[in-house]
């Protein structure tokens, strides 16, 4: 009798932990997707900022060159720097897109686990607990 009590309590504890696990991991998975979108949005905003800087620098450089005999090297440097920053950000955008694409398969399998396999395991465990409780009542 004592052993069956212990079995049931331990299995109930495991079942509760599985339910909690499913809820928390769903939130984890959603936050994981949010992190990807936040980073993408931040990179897009940074790329927009440097694109505007590049266009402004280019316009200033062009205006300088239109004048007679001015030293435009500072403007040229500004154009070059803005272009490099923009290129650097675009490189990161590509890396993030590739990594997010590779991650999508693993994330999909995990979501399927949380939506289908884990509830099945929880139901199986609940049925085992019900059997044990029935056996305890009968004994």
């Amino acid at each position: 009798m004592t052993k069956i009590h212990a079995d049931i309590d331990a299995l109930k504890g495991l079942h509760e932990a599985m339910v909690r696990f499913r809820h928390v991991q769903r939130s984890v998975a959603e936050r994981g997707n949010d992190e990807i979108e936040l980073t993408r949005a931040a990179l897009t905003a940074k790329a927009g900022h440097w694109q505007a800087r590049l266009e402004q620098s280019q316009a200033e450089f062009d205006a300088c060159r239109a004048g007679p005999g001015a030293d435009c090297s500072g403007y040229a440097r500004a154009v070059e720097q803005a272009g490099e920053q923009l290129e650097h950000i675009r490189g990161w955008q590509q890396r993030v897109d590739e990594a997010a694409g590779e991650f999508r398969g693993t994330a999909g399998a995990f979501w399927d686990l949380l939506q289908n396999d884990l509830p099945r395991a929880e139901s199986h465990l609940l049925a085992l607990i019900a059997d044990l409780e029935a056996a305890r009542r009968a004994s």
Partner: protein
């Protein structure tokens, strides 16, 4: 507000679930337990671990992307 990484919260929860399993196992040593282990528990832990490691690597990359583009 403290910002925690989702992969770390997930790993912590996987640890808590593992502890619940370790508590149950000593009292549950029959054929049904072995089937539950093979059919449910082991795949659950393996797939969760794979996901959380992949998420951790991705979050590392996202954080680096953010830092490396802050000019």
């Amino acid at each position: 507000m403290i910002h925690t990484r989702p992969d770390r919260d997930g790993q912590e929860q996987l640890g808590l679930l593992g502890a619940a399993w370790e508590e149950a196992v000593p009292y549950w040593q029959d054929e049904v337990a072995r089937q539950f282990d093979t059919g449910h528990w082991t795949p659950l832990v393996q797939r969760s671990t794979t996901y959380l490691e992949a998420l951790g690597a991705l979050v590392d990359l996202l954080e680096t992307a953010d830092r490396d583009t802050d000019f």
